[in-house]
Each structure stands twice: as C-alpha cells, then as structure tokens.
Symmetry: C2
Subunit: 371 residues, 2 copies
C-alpha cells in the first residue's frame, strides 16, 4: 500500500503546515474535511465545497454500506464518480457509527454484527469487510483501519482491552488492504485518557509497519475540551513526526486551534453543515443564530472577508428571513458559509504557521472565543 508523500513546509512549536500529496491532488495541512456522510455534503453542491476551500472530503462507510450499498456504489464506478467529488476522499472504518448509531450490536474477535438504524436489516463489519468496502468498493484514497471506539469513560482495564482489540484489528486491516499503489491506510490510536495506553497503541501501530498516517480516535465522545487537549498533549509526541496526524470527529474552531498547537494535521466534523441547517453561523468568537431578532433588518453579509458567495452575497436579513420561513435556501447558504468559514480558518492557521505567528494567533483566538 502507498505511503503518500507528506511535505512539512514550516513548523512553530508542535504546529506544522505542509501538504499530503495524493494521486487525486494535494491536501494542504492542517486540513479540515467536510463530511459527506451519504455521498453528499448535506445541502452543498460538490463544486461549492471545493470553492469553499476544501481539498478533501470524508465519506461514511457505515451509511454507504447500508444505503445505497457498497457493491452498488462500486457497480456505479466508485464513490468519486457516484458523488461527483473528484478530489481526495477519506472514508472512516464504520466502527464509530456502528458504536454510535446501530442497534443490537454483537461484538466478537471476528468483528461486529449489527442492525441497520434505517430498516433493522442485519449487517456485519470486520477488518476484512471494512477494507473491502473502503478500498475496493468505494475506492477511498485514504482508508482507516477497522477499530473499536472505546467507551467513555472507561477504566484502565477496559481501555487496554479495547485498545488491544483495535491493534489486532489494525494488523488484520493491513493484511486485508493488500497492495494498493494509489491508496493509503491510516492507523487509529486508542487508549482513552491513559498516557501509557496511548503510547503503547502508537508504538505498536508504528511497529506494525505500512501505515500512511496516524489518527487519534476515541476523542470528541463527551470527554470535554480540556481533557481532549490533555490527551493530545501526551499522545502526539508518540506519533511519527513525518506522517500526518488526524484527530477524528473534531470539532469546534477552538478545538481545532488547540489541536493544531498540539501537532494535529487533519480534522473532520459535521458541525458546519449540521449547525447550518439549524440557523447557526460560525465565527472566530463562536456560533450565533441568524434567527435572532436583531438580524431581521441587518443588511450586512455573513463575512465579507471570506472569499465565498455564501459569505459575501447575501444579507443577514435575507438569511434570517429564509431560516425563519423554513426555506431550504437558508440552510443551503449557511451550510456553505460554515464550510467556507472552517476552510478559511484552516487557511489562516496555515499562513500563521508559515509566518511564525501562529502562537500569537492561537492565544488571541482563545481570548476572543465565547462559544
């Protein structure tokens, strides 16, 4: 399997900026990946996602295997052709969604059997099936090892057992992934809030050989911002400096800034689109709701400084009206703007690291944050 070139152009403290170079294009890091759960970034056209500044999007193995089905996507030419996104694509392993969405799970060493949250039908995921779906059927550029998302909170014993299962599943993922010159596989480091377990998970994942990147899993599951920062603080030093580090499912802008400070290169989150559908607008101070009465006559755009039609071309009063009227276009504009906001934040983070001003930027960002 491929290990994509990862060029780090500049560092500041632990923060780094550069590019992960894939056959489908470069991913500028630190990178934010909009989530395209069911082969669509909800409410946003793919060319708008690209225009908003995204280099890569994420697809969900769990959702796509249930509907329309991974074999169906393969029959239609793979996830890129099916969805119309022709840039790099990362798929998760399905493990997290089985853990958070499905019903009647039956865990074994082999894998997990579960019932679809859509129609109750029975399905199975294992390292081998997850690799088949991600790499062969969907055709993701970056695939994730099959893992178990450790419950939170977990005792040290529980966390160890779960982490060790993910290591064994990781080895089976590597074996099943096979020889794919244009696709790469990322490890997922587990270990809950325990430094020794995180260190051991990282060391054994590195020793397994072949991974093109390293994700930190099992965070953003209710542990809170401070605990997340603490776990990152002691986990990233155990990850290879020359490989991309991906914090799964994160997060709010303040989480992203703090995680970049701790050496994270990649992020994904549904926040921009999910909160956009509910009228939320993201800013450097936190989110606000456009439905608030004060915006009824506000002729200013969402953010004239962001180079995106959604951010510049519509008045707050218009979007206020659309959201209050439950008009789809309001959700469409806010979802698009929020993605553009997150991508603009990443661009500013990258520029500050290159300029050596990221530490100051992060300090000021934290002081202004009101979310």
């Amino acid at each position: 399997m491929a290990v994509f070139p990862f060029d780090i152009d500049a560092t500041e403290g632990r923060a780094r900026t550069g590019a992960l170079r894939t056959p489908r294009g470069d991913i500028r890091t630190p990178a934010f990946m909009p989530v395209g759960t069911a082969a669509t970034v909800k409410g946003v056209y793919m060319d708008q996602v690209r225009q908003a500044g995204a280099d890569i999007i994420l697809g969900n193995t769990y959702h796509l295997m249930l509907r329309p089905g991974a074999e169906r996507v393969a029959e239609l030419g793979g996830l890129h052709k099916f969805s119309g996104w022709n840039g790099p694509m990362l798929t998760d392993s399905g493990g997290f969604q089985v853990w958070s969405l499905s019903k009647l799970r039956k865990m074994s060493e082999q894998g997990v059997e579960f019932q679809s949250h859509i129609d109750g039908s029975k399905h199975m995921l294992s390292p081998e099936r997850s690799m088949e779906i991600q790499a062969e059927l969907l055709g993701a550029d970056i695939c994730m090892q099959f893992d178990e998302c450790t419950n939170f909170p977990a005792t040290h014993d529980e966390a160890r057992a779960s982490m060790e299962l993910s290591l064994r599943w990781g080895q089976r993922s590597i074996d099943a992934f096979g020889d794919r010159p244009d696709q790469t596989l990322f490890a997922i480091v587990q270990g809950s809030v325990y430094e020794d377990l995180r260190a051991e998970s990282a060391a054994k994942s590195i020793a397994a050989g072949g991974y093109g990147g390293y994700a930190v899993g099992g965070l953003a599951v209710g542990e809170g911002h401070e605990t997340m920062c603490k776990v990152l603080e002691f986990t990233t030093p155990h990850l290879p400096a020359d490989r991309p580090r991906y914090l799964m499912g994160v997060g709010k802008p303040i989480d992203i800034v703090r995680a970049v400070e701790r050496g994270i290169d990649m992020f994904d989150c549904v926040i921009p689109t999910r909160s956009g559908r509910h009228g939320q607008v993201w800013t450097d101070r936190g989110p606000y709701n456009i439905k608030r009465a004060e915006f009824a006559a506000d002729d200013s755009p969402l953010d004239a400084a962001i180079d995106c039609p959604a951010s510049r071309n519509y008045s707050k009063a218009y979007i206020h009206h659309l959201i209050r009227s439950k008009e789809m276009l309001g959700q469409m504009i806010l979802s698009w703007h929020n993605i553009a906001y997150f991508e603009d934040l990443m661009a500013r983070i990258r520029a500050h690291i290159r300029a050596g001003t990221f530490t100051e930027f992060a300090r000021a960002f934290g002081e202004n944050w009101d979310g």
Copy 2:
C-alpha cells in the same frame, strides 16, 4: 405607467413568439416564470434559475407582506436586492393566495381582511394596498391588478358579480399605481367559464386604458384541462393582439403547449420545484418518480439534451439514492432540473413557432403525453 415594448417576431396560428422588453432585460415569449414565493425559488440559487434559462421570476405579494413584511423588504432595498434576482420580476396581487391560503376572510367593496396562515395575525389587502406593496415597496417590474379569484364552480350570476368587482378593483389599481416610468401593470380578466363574461371583462379592462398586459385569471382552480382549453379558446380573441397574455398559475407541460396554441405568452407555476421536492422528474411524456426501484442502478443523467448541470452531471442512481435518503441535495438537483426542463420546453416552443413547425410539435407532444 409604462407599457413595455412587446415585439412579436413570428406567429403560427394563434401562437406567437417574441420578447417583452423591460428596463431590467428582455423576457423571451412564450415565457415560463419560476415561482419565488418567499423571495426564493425553493431550493435553487438565483444564478441557477438564470442558468436554467429563466428571464423572469414571480414573487408572491401575500407571502412577502406577511413575512418578512413589505415595509421590511423596502427598507432592505426592494425585492430584487433582497432576493438577489436582478432580472425582471412579476408579483401577483395577493388576491389568489388570500382566497386559497388565508383564514377568516372578510370581503367588502373596499378590499379583504384576513388572518395570516402563519401566525393568525390580521391583515388587509385592497387595490391601493396591493399597488403600494407591489410597485412601491417590493418594486416589481410587472405588477398585477388587485382582483378576486372567482370560485369554481360559479353560477353565471356569481361569476358576473365577482368579475364586476375585479373590474372596479382594476380601475382603483390603475389609479393607485400612478406614474411609474419603469414599471407596468397587467389586467386580470375574469368571468369563469362564461364567454360573454370573459368578453365583457376583457373589453372593459381594455377600455380602462393603460394596462401593459392581460392575464387570464380564475383558471387552474379545478376546472380541468379540457375546460381550461375551451375557456382560453374563446377568451384570447378578446385580448389585444399587441400585448402579452399571461395565464396565471399554469401549469403542466401539456397545459402550456395547449395554451400557447391558443395565444398565451406567459406562464407561472410552482410545479417544477414542488414536484422536485417529492422526487418527480418532468419530461415530454409527463412526470416520473426517481424513487422507483428501476433507477437504483441507472447510470444515465436526467436529460443530457438539456444544457443544465442538474440535467447532465448527476446519474439517476445518485439522485435516486439522495431522494430515498431524504438528502437535501436530491431535492435541490430535481428542482433545478425541472426548472431547466420547463425553460427548455419554452425555448423549443419558441424555436418551433419561429420555424413554422409548432403545430406539428404540439400535435406530437399531445400524442406522446402520458401524464
């Protein structure tokens, strides 16, 4: 008030093609106006509406006066600036929606009092208030006289009384409209299914002087396709040949083709977007639902012959998946495609009239129609 130049380039039988020239741009006729009820064509960006081939859209006085309020739209620079549509815009008078949507109506010679269907608040519409809203506050390019939509069915006496009220309200609309060099006012001819009443309504509207166009009202209210055709058959000969004729609220493609045969130049209807939100795809044979199982693996686009990304760039299988998954993007693509289909149909109608082949086109269209 202005009477916009209306150039008829070609005729075939009663069908005509040309352009109504407004200060905000030409409207190629026969024209289909997508409906932008609440200052948005549901689920479609304004530049997509334009790209789909629309020269003009329609806004709803009733909806906009209730939310966000006509004075609010005026404060924000008028409906063009508020909505982002910078081409010609037509607003209806509000009469039809008061008749079909509002509660607790109280009719008098002065006008109509009613309760909002949104929040129950009390409002009033009269010829004077409708003109103030349409011309002054929203700033429509083409305004409609305030009228009463005659109930269907109606006796001859009921239809006469209603038609005469609309004539008196029409005169008051003309008086209230005043001197507006860049805006025009259309009459609405009523009279239900009675030829003598339609003829009288037309003659007295013409005699009133100053109208820039003539609408046929009180149709598409349950009378059925054949009755609609019959009423048009005997009504359009009473309308001035040199002024645009507008059939309000129509309709399906077959209705449009039959009405063009009978001399109609303008149409509006919510069908493209409303049915698109429910998975319906419009074609020359009628609509079909993309949710049908046969489309699950259909890799073909909706209609490669239509010059619109929604029609060409997505497989039926992808849209089938999106609509089944209740993904907004499915509704967005189908709404956009359906508008493009209707606009493409109008372009073909115009071309056939210019080529002298419209009669044959209409005959074949009717034979193929399966809706």
